[in-house]
């Protein structure tokens, strides 16, 4: 592979044909197939895997991962990354629970606005100060993590008086859990933005070829800022969802989601190089991770092995879905 890459434009013919070979089968099908295989294997291992109770467990775990992942997908689509989602989720989690005590229902909009601002700052560090998002969000992520600890060094429980408000997430509507409905709404929002709005389409253009986008008059600063704002939005909703469902805030809540959210996006077939992928890919990616996480427990895989199997599945699925021929160099 690397040999073929060496020679710039002269390689076109070669990569073209490699691509043509895969062009008939979009990446997403590989991911869906992998998901089905996993479900099949786990069901073979334990009949209860497909029980209503267990599906519900998978759904609630996946829901939160999916919402962060949908946000994370936007910086990745423009060719960047958002490592601050973890810190932001932790911060939002404690701010949410603490402010719930004092301002009640207004805690929801407050948290959303704070997160949008955090995303906007991330975007501007990239677009105005021109620091790569990998470093920029590593920095802001650290700041947010410590802010979370300053607000509340230990996990805080939501006072029982606010439990009624938590029903926004924990309740049900027409027999369906609100958590699921919220997740669907967030998915619909991101899907529509990316598919049917100009700014969403611009995210793809900028991710595919930023210089061309600039020369064609696309506001590349605004587009990239917007991608990071969307990432903040996803992280905030996910943090609120999880805080509600565990009836309390946790200053370490976001830690696991940094890598998990990136994995969910990439496993679904969105390229880290930007420009290809989308909301449906992220749904499949999050489901693969959710099914893995749960399924390994259900069939009784040794806890010490779980991480390595998960790692293996991530590598396999990216190998299947990510069209490596499209990137000039893999670093």
């Amino acid at each position: 592979m690397v040999e073929v890459k060496r020679d710039g434009p002269a390689k076109t013919k070669e990569t073209t044909t490699v691509r043509r070979k895969r062009a008939g089968i979009p990446a997403i099908y590989f991911a869906v197939m992998l998901l089905l295989v996993l479900v099949f294997l786990f069901t073979m291992g334990n009949r209860n895997f497909l029980s209503a109770y267990n599906l519900n467990t998978i759904a609630s775990y996946t829901a939160i991962l999916l919402v962060v992942g949908l946000g994370q997908m936007n910086p990745i689509l423009i060719g960047g990354i958002d490592l601050s989602v973890g810190g932001l989720m932790s911060f939002i989690s404690v701010v949410f629970v603490v402010s719930l005590k004092t301002i009640g229902i207004w805690a929801f909009p407050l948290c959303i606005v704070v997160a949008l601002m955090a995303g906007f700052i991330n975007g501007n560090i990239l677009t105005r100060i021109k620091i790569p998002s990998f470093i920029a969000t590593l920095g802001t992520g650290g700041i947010l993590t410590s802010l979370a600890l300053i607000v509340s060094p230990l996990p805080v429980d939501a006072p029982p008086s606010t439990y009624a408000l938590l029903e926004v997430v924990n309740g049900t509507l027409l027999g369906l859990p609100n958590l699921l409905l919220l997740t669907l709404a967030v998915f619909a929002l991101f899907y529509v933005i990316l598919r049917f709005t100009t700014v969403g389409r611009n995210i793809y253009y900028v991710g595919s070829n930023i210089r061309m986008s600039w020369m064609s008059g696309i506001d590349i600063v605004r587009t990239r800022n917007f991608a990071f704002v969307l990432s903040g939005l996803g992280a905030a909703i996910a943090a609120i969802m999880q805080s509600c469902s565990q009836y309390g805030g946790d200053p370490a809540l976001g830690k696991v989601y940094i890598l998990q959210s990136i994995a969910a996006v990439v496993v679904g077939g969105t390229a880290l190089t930007g420009g290809t992928g989308g909301a449906i890919n992220t749904v499949v990616g999050a489901l693969i991770l959710g099914v893995m996480e749960n399924g390994m427990n259900v069939v009784g895989v040794d806890a010490y092995f779980q991480q390595s199997i998960l790692g293996l599945v991530i590598i396999i699925s990216v190998a299947l879905t990510f069209d490596r021929s499209k990137t000039a160099t893999i670093k």
């Binding site: 070669e14 793809y204 595919s208 210089r211 420009g275």
Partner: protein
């Protein structure tokens, strides 16, 4: 010397090479021509072992060989100078020359810098490069880079004791100026005494003038092979494309008399150190060609007009309305389009579909209730794919899968769909094969019929003359001459060349 017999290579859905024969004799320059997609690059990649043929034999110096990778080709004295170079920019000339083979200069376990320098001087003398060996490659001209690559290949052949190495040059002249081009060919004809050269180029003229033998490929098959001194450009063209082109190559009969209305007016525009204040205007339906050597400032003038660069003074007005400086989004919105020289990095989102590329500028037009309507989007894309004759399997084919000519037509379609009034064409036919080139000329003519004004910079002076209705010649940052080129009364290149250099 080298003999390929019945080479076949197919990819899923495409037969890139179908029983192709290719022979290289000692001490000759062989020109290899064909349209985009005719199989030239695949053949070259087989020659240097980058890919392996499905069938066929590879005989080198009367021995049957099977190359596994380019390194084994290097050991046998077969090497390629790639289109956009394969040198490491931040290493020096000398480091690049001997890259990966430094160990042959080992003395007592250390590299002998003196020995390296001596070898470098002697090998660079062959290609007449007299630059400081420690200059980083990034600071050298494209010409020097190319020579260093050629020198490296010659040296490698020596290192592996291979007499008469085979050098493959892929489009070596695209990045060179007229003078440099001549130097290149004079050096090549000297090197010929100790090497064989395979020359690939879209410029048929230089193939016909400089090679001994011409091999023509079409659709992955050998068409013919002819002695260069008996070949004429139209003949070669016909064999490449399979049909003959009209004598009126640039569709002069379609050239329109420009209207009276001024489209673009440039007044007192200047950029310190690059070009001095210049004034000119372009009328509706007029094609004005900017001509000049590299460094004449013509590229910078265009970049100022398209908003990619900020001038120091002056004004640019389109249809009487003054434009903001240095903001592409502003210029695009006011109706100035730009076909950039490098369509891969500046013109297209290669990983996106033809439809997405064509529709980039006009997405807002497809909105129903604030959201883009996929059906309207598709309709618009199909319309322009047809209008510009983009040969694409479907509107959702990825642009990377199109040939160079069709990619260029996609870029043009993108701008056309947005109802521009003015178009800057920066080498619109670079790297485009003869057939597609003809269609691009046709499109350009059609645009002028619609009243679109254009500034154009072309690959060759003939193309400039053929297409434009007026020519502005720039030299050392100044506008030195204006020549009108009315249809059927075109000036000859020799009348003009004097003002350029």
């Amino acid at each position: 010397m080298l003999e390929l017999r019945r080479i076949t290579k197919s990819y899923p859905g495409v037969v890139a090479l179908d029983g192709v024969d290719f022979t290289v004799y000692e001490n000759e320059i062989v020109g290899l021509v064909g349209e985009n997609g005719a199989g030239k690059s695949t053949l070259m990649k087989i020659l240097i072992g980058l890919i392996q043929p499905d069938e066929g034999s590879y005989t080198l110096r009367r021995k049957l060989v099977a190359l596994r990778d380019p390194a084994s080709a290097t050991r046998l004295g077969v090497g390629m100078v790639f289109q956009d170079g394969s040198l490491v920019p931040n290493l020096s000339i000398m480091e690049n020359l001997f890259l990966c083979h430094e160990l042959s200069f080992r003395k007592f376990g250390f590299l002998s810098k003196r020995a390296m320098q001596e070898a470098a001087y002697s090998i660079l003398a062959l290609v007449k490069v007299e630059t400081d060996l420690d200059t980083p490659i990034a600071d050298t001209t494209p010409e020097v880079r190319q020579m260093v690559e050629i020198a490296r290949l010659l040296w490698l052949a020596r290192l592996y004791n291979q007499r008469n190495p085979i050098l493959i040059l892929d489009e070596p002249t695209t990045v060179l100026t007229e003078n440099e081009r001549q130097t290149l060919f004079s050096i090549l004809s000297e090197i010929k005494s100790q090497a064989s050269i395979v020359l690939i180029s879209h410029r048929l003229q230089e193939i016909v003038e400089n090679s001994d033998r011409i091999v023509i490929l079409k659709d992955g098959k050998n068409v013919t092979e002819l002695e260069a001194d008996r070949a004429s450009i139209p003949d070669v063209e016909q064999m490449m494309v399979g049909r003959r082109f009209a004598a009126d190559r640039y569709h002069e009969d379609e050239q329109v008399e420009p209207g009276d209305k001024t489209a673009l007016r440039v007044q007192n525009l200047s950029k310190r150190g690059v070009f001095e204040p210049i004034d000119f205007s372009v009328r509706r339906g007029e094609i004005v060609s900017l001509v000049g050597l590299v460094g004449s400032g013509k590229e910078a003038v265009c970049r100022c007009i398209t908003g990619l660069e900020k001038p120091d003074s002056g004004s640019i007005a389109l249809g009487g309305k003054k434009l903001a400086w240095g903001s592409p989004s502003e210029t695009v919105r006011s109706g100035i389009g730009h076909i950039p020289i490098d369509r891969r990095s500046e013109g297209l989102a290669l990983g996106m579909t033809v439809a997405e590329n064509v529709n980039l500028l006009v997405l807002d037009r497809f909105k129903v209730a604030g959201l883009i309507s996929p059906s309207r989007e598709k309709r618009n894309a199909m319309h322009w794919i047809e209008e510009c004759r983009i040969k694409s399997p479907s509107s959702w084919t990825m642009c990377a899968n199109l040939s160079g000519g069709n990619q260029q037509k996609t870029v043009i379609a993108k701008w056309l769909s947005s109802q521009i009034e003015f178009l800057v064409l920066d080498h619109p036919t670079r790297g485009v094969d003869v057939g597609a080139r003809d269609e691009i000329y046709r499109l350009i003519r059609k645009l002028t019929h619609d009243g679109i004004a254009m500034i154009i910079m072309c690959d060759t002076l003939e193309e400039d003359i053929g297409l434009c209705s007026r020519m502005l010649i720039m030299k050392d940052g100044r506008l030195v001459r204006e020549i009108s080129c009315p249809r059927f009364k075109k000036p000859s290149p020799s009348e003009i060349i004097g003002s350029i250099v």
